[in-house]
Amino acid sequence: MLQPESKTLAIVFYILAVVLDPVLPLWRIVGYLLFLLFFAVLSRASILKIIKRSFFLIPFLLVILIFNALPGGIGPRVYLLLGKGWLAAFGLAALAVSTDFVRLIKGLQRLGLPNVLIQLLTFMYRYLDLLVAEVRRMEIARNQRFFGRGYLRQFTVLGNMLGNLFLRTFERGERVYVAMQLRGFQGYLPITKVAYSWQDYCLVIGALATLALLGVSIICPY
């Protein structure tokens, strides 16, 4: 099985290549898509899912289209923006489809992302649904005794709820920190070592090759 850090590295190199591409000719688009196909096969991600996921880009693309196509019509610049945008979105979607969040964080940790950031992401993921549940409970408690009278009063109530939520979160944070200290926490989350397979090396080398190919074809165009 592929490790998340090799997938992340491969996608970073791939996006770098897409973004740096100055003209985006058709043969290179095919090249990029072939790399993504290679990625999808190695990481056993469903191509249909990747395409579906990449639709998250549509609202952003529409904005880009409006601001760029209105003044000068659909020219090479708009084509370049749309093409690069969608290819990069495919890359991100492929990473997202093939890797769950927890494994992604682990991968980033092994790649050497700052410790504080890793802890933030880990705890955010762990406690997000507790926070949401707490908000829901507060909301229910409010709705049982509050029926929306008075426009200004609603803001007072909301302010109180937010303040309360902050305090509760803060106190939970303290309790969690105590629990961590009691088990010998010294400022670092433990890193689990993993072994890399030939697929990992293939993927990263493939991504680097894509980047290198772009470089070569820019320097000597014929």
Binding site: V102, T122, Y125, Y127, R175, L182, K193
Partner: protein
């Protein structure tokens, strides 16, 4: 030699509330002690002090070593505190990582960490939970895994803060069986008199930050005493 000694332990919260007003107690190896008292009597505060989270006045010694900021790292692994809310205890994403957190911080090699994790999970009947996400566990499962995170440290003394609260009768019974089987000494803060009767060999009653009764489980049959301290 007592495992734990507390002498004149006094704690006042920053808001001026006197939570503990001179608590004296000794706990011997293997002894299971029930800590009874009303809400706000100081049970949780006492546990936090004994675990070295809060710093009270007075003296606490564990296996003859006085608990201080310098000795806490040495004493820490010997005393395990189980929180009332297991969500405070389980902060890693998967069960394995969470139970492994303590042993890893002790600096053990990976194979020993894995061994401790599987042993601790087996003790609480959660051997096949390793790869599950902690936030997807049910409340009862969280409680058991939280206990496993502490057992993995192989402590000599367990401080349990209301271990059976919010559990359904079946899960409560399961947890009681687990607790009763452990050989470690325990101080169990609880409102569950039936549990204290079933598991403990000694009872301490705390009232307004003071030990007002300390004796065998026969205390639980003394109705006038329990009524006097409003425990029934």
């Amino acid at each position: 030699m007592p495992l734990l000694t507390a002498t004149e332990v006094t704690y006042t919260y920053p808001d001026g509330r006197h939570a503990l007003q001179g608590v004296n107690l000794k706990i011997y190896p293997g002894e299971k002690v029930g800590l009874l008292g009303l809400n706000g009597a100081g049970k949780s505060t006492l546990l936090l002090c004994l675990a070295g989270v809060l710093w009270p006045r007075g003296e606490i010694t564990v296996q003859g070593v006085s608990l201080s900021r310098q000795t806490r790292r040495q004493i820490g692994p010997k005393v395990g505190l189980l929180f009332q809310d297991p969500n405070d205890q389980l902060f890693m994403t998967t069960v394995f990582e969470d139970v492994a957190f303590g042993p890893q911080n002790l600096g053990l090699p990976l194979n020993q960490v894995e061994e401790r994790v599987s042993q601790a999970l087996a003790m609480v009947g959660a051997a096949d939970f390793t790869q599950r996400f902690t936030h997807h566990l049910s409340f009862g499962e969280k409680k058991r895994v939280a206990l496993a995170t502490i057992l993995a440290m192989e402590p000599d003394l367990l401080l349990l803060d209301e271990p059976t609260s919010n559990l359904d009768p079946k899960r409560r019974r399961e947890l009681l069986d687990i607790i009763a089987q452990r050989p470690q000494a325990m101080l169990i803060a609880t409102h569950d008199l039936a549990m204290a009767q079933a598991v403990c060999s000694r009872i301490i009653i705390l009232e307004q930050g003071l030990v007002v009764a300390d004796g065998s489980t026969d205390l639980l049959n003394d109705e006038s005493l329990l009524q006097k301290h409003e425990l029934i």
